[in-house]
């Protein structure tokens, strides 16, 4: 204002210059910048396209199969894609998938939470690092090696435990055993539990690590024992984190293929006992039926895969949403 008054000349038209400068300063107009932004945004969009394509293509192939299915796809206890007309349904697979995953969760979650507590609150500081590394190694072992180990080492070792369970808990019906090879849902569940242990442990550990130190120290100062500190200050804080960690583990257990395919001796019916061999899971059924399937049979397997995809999508999405919500109010990622 003042300078214009003193020089008494009209101010040089600043509009075109400043606009150009602005554009240059923003940087987005330089060709290099535009190309780079385009490339990186393109890759991000490509990922979204892949997710959409998975849903679209699976749905399309699945619809081809389901439209020719002579039985109810959701409630049929059969998988005969070779019949004319074909009859197949996912009831057995859904049951087996849910049961084996629940068994895995029941075993893995308490142990994983305990290990996470061990790493954050119990282990000597020097031990904590190497132990985390051991847990990471558990996660790095390929699932097919777990499968081989499960089928050749774990299964023979289960005989004793199964006999025990049958003797003392057989009256419940869930733990009765007719003496078949222990290639059953319980063995599968135990193997899956070992496999999902690392992810549940790692996520829970991160949550427990963020528990407010002040409250813990206050509780200790009031004379609380270590367990009371954990029960009153750490576990309530970490509850939603543990829930989402468990759901991430559940997502893994639902989709695990090779470990189940090697250990389970599948049948297409539902066993009331966890100890008797039989049943099947989505992923295992796809892997074992795929070899001799015709093109129509493959479409039917894709249909069952679509159900698995939707289930894992829901479970994982829910888990991630819980984690994201928690981050916002805890300020842990600030």
């Amino acid at each position: 204002m003042e300078s214009t008054q003193i020089t008494d000349t009209p101010p040089p038209t600043p509009q075109p210059v400043s606009a150009e400068q602005k554009r240059a300063a923003r940087g987005a107009t330089r060709p290099g910048d535009r190309i780079f932004l385009g490339l990186s945004r393109g890759s991000g969009i490509f990922l979204l396209v892949i997710m959409a394509a998975i849903a679209v293509f699976l749905t399309y192939r699945a619809s081809l199969a389901i439209s020719k299915d002579d039985a109810n796809f959701l409630t049929t206890f059969e998988w005969n894609t070779g019949l004319v007309p074909p009859k197949f349904g996912i009831a057995v697979l859904a049951f087996g998938t849910v049961v084996s995953s629940i068994v895995a969760m029941v075993i893995a979650v308490p142990i994983a939470v305990a290990i996470a507590l061990f790493l954050t609150h119990y282990a000597p500081r020097k031990l904590s690092g190497p132990i985390s590394y051991v847990i990471d190694l558990l996660a790095a072992v390929p699932s097919i090696v777990y499968g081989l180990w499960g089928a050749l080492i774990l299964v023979p070792h289960m005989n004793g435990l199964f006999g025990w369970l049958d003797t003392y808990l057989g009256w419940t019906g869930i733990f009765s055993w007719q003496g078949g090879a222990p290639r059953s849902m319980l063995t599968v569940g135990i193997l899956l539990a070992i496999m999902i242990l690392p992810i549940v442990t790692n996520v829970s550990r991160e949550v427990f690590r963020q528990a407010p130190q002040m409250i813990e120290e206050a509780a200790l100062a009031l004379g609380a024992t270590r367990w009371e500190v954990i029960r009153m200050a750490v576990l309530p804080f970490g509850r939603s984190g543990v829930i989402s960690a468990s759901m991430l583990g559940l997502g893994r257990a639902l989709g695990e293929t090779m470990a189940v395919a090697t250990v389970l001796s599948p049948t297409f019916d539902i066993q009331s006992s966890l100890l008797d061999p039989g049943g099947g899971t989505f992923a295992q059924n796809i892997a074992s039926k795929f070899g001799e399937a015709t093109e129509f049979g493959r479409d039917a397997l894709i249909a069952s895969g679509l159900v698995l995809f939707v289930i894992t999508l829901l479970v994982n999405g829910a888990a991630r949403m819980i984690i994201a919500r928690r981050k916002e109010y805890s300020g842990a990622n600030a």
Binding site: L47, I54, V141, I144, V145, W149, W164, M258, T262, R320
Partner: protein, 353 residues
């Protein structure tokens, strides 16, 4: 003198009675001995049961003794401590057993001949043959998957960290998270549905595409974490010198975090190298050497393990080969893990002086 006087006093005046430090070890040893005794007496042949009995005895013993001497609250604390320790040991047992068995059984047939020959016409139930074709196939499939997934993953992470604001980046973040949870067999089915529509026979690159889908979200996540560690001052200094943003990213941000990004990619490779399900659907396996990933069925190491196990009808020779292949696979994955962690430590982002 005064020390002696204090030591002579009963310890219970201020702190209450407490068990000596060695008591957990003593209880553990005792319960283990009793468990072995029970196991021998009852003729339980499974060591798993011995361990379970020992664990239960240990927990009961700890609780009982501590409740008598120290009171209920301390007893609960002790039992929580023991439970936590027992859980940790429970998790270590399978890992140790798995590594031990794999090494012990794997070394039986693992030699240069095994690594440099393929199955060819060797029947599944006979001894002989090897994993050369499987190693070759696995390296090609995993290599191609890396070539696809690593650039896309890194670029996506760059977009999320350097450019990403608003709905698009939020959507990408969410779906990348969800994508890490896709079961590997579903990724295989997706490529399979494409192949069915294009009427294609199984070939190595189809497996690579499925593996790339599994690998991308892992690379995005780890790269994102690394880029976030790069201090903003570095970016600002570069931009203040008038350097365009894309050159800032290429010359300042990425070189600073390259160690972490490499680590992430190597861990992702280690993860997909063991994937069996998509390879089973898309690559089929092949006892003969096929070095061309773009035509014809190929072999693959994890798939080889599965086929040796599944097609062998309980033959010892095939199981030996499966264990030896497992040992090779685990060794490969562990070496990748170790090297990746080494790089992470060696090239940690230099934050300040």
């Amino acid at each position: 003198m005064s020390h002696a006087a204090i030591a002579d006093k009963p310890a219970s005046t201020l702190r209450g009675a407490s068990l000596p430090k060695w008591s957990p070890y003593a209880i553990a040893a005792g319960s283990l001995a009793v468990a072995v005794g029970i196991g021998l007496a009852a003729g339980l042949d499974s060591k798993v049961q011995w361990g379970l009995i020992a664990a239960i005895l240990f927990l009961l013993g700890t609780f009982g003794i501590a409740a008598r001497v120290e009171g209920r609250r301390q007893a609960k604390d002790r039992i929580a401590t023991s439970l936590v320790w027992v859980s940790f040991l429970l998790a270590v047992v399978p890992l140790v057993s798995l590594v031990w068995v794999t090494v012990a059984r794997g070394v039986k047939v693992l030699d240069v001949y095994f690594l440099t020959h393929s199955m060819g016409v060797v029947a599944d139930t006979e001894p002989g043959g090897g994993i050369y074709a499987a190693i070759l196939g696995s390296l090609e499939q995993v290599g191609l998957a890396t070539v696809i997934a690593a650039p896309i993953g890194v670029l996506t992470a760059v977009y999320l960290v350097e450019y990403g604001r608003g709905n698009l980046s939020r959507a990408i973040t969410f779906f990348v998270d969800v994508m890490t949870g896709i079961p590997s067999i579903v990724a295989g089915l997706f490529i399979l549905s494409l192949m069915l529509m294009l009427d294609m026979e199984p070939f190595g690159f189809a497996g690579s595409m499925a593996l790339a889908i599994l690998m991308m979200p892992v690379v995005v996540r780890s790269t994102e974490e690394m880029l976030k560690l790069v201090p903003n001052e570095l970016r600002e200094a570069s931009l203040a010198l008038g350097i365009p943003k894309w050159r800032t990213i290429l010359k300042v941000v990425l070189p600073t975090s390259i160690g972490g990004i490499t680590t992430g990619i190597m861990l992702a490779i280690a993860r997909i190298a063991g994937e069996t399900a998509p390879v089973l659907l898309l690559v089929w396996g092949n006892p003969f050497i096929n070095a061309n990933p773009f035509e014809g069925a190929q072999a693959s190491l994890p798939l080889y393990i599965y086929q040796q196990y599944a097609n062998s009808a309980g033959s010892g020779a095939a199981y030996d080969r499966a264990w030896a292949a497992s040992l090779t696979l685990i060794a490969f994955v562990m070496i990748l893990n170790l090297v990746a962690r080494g790089i992470a430590r060696w090239k940690a982002p230099k934050t300040g002086r």
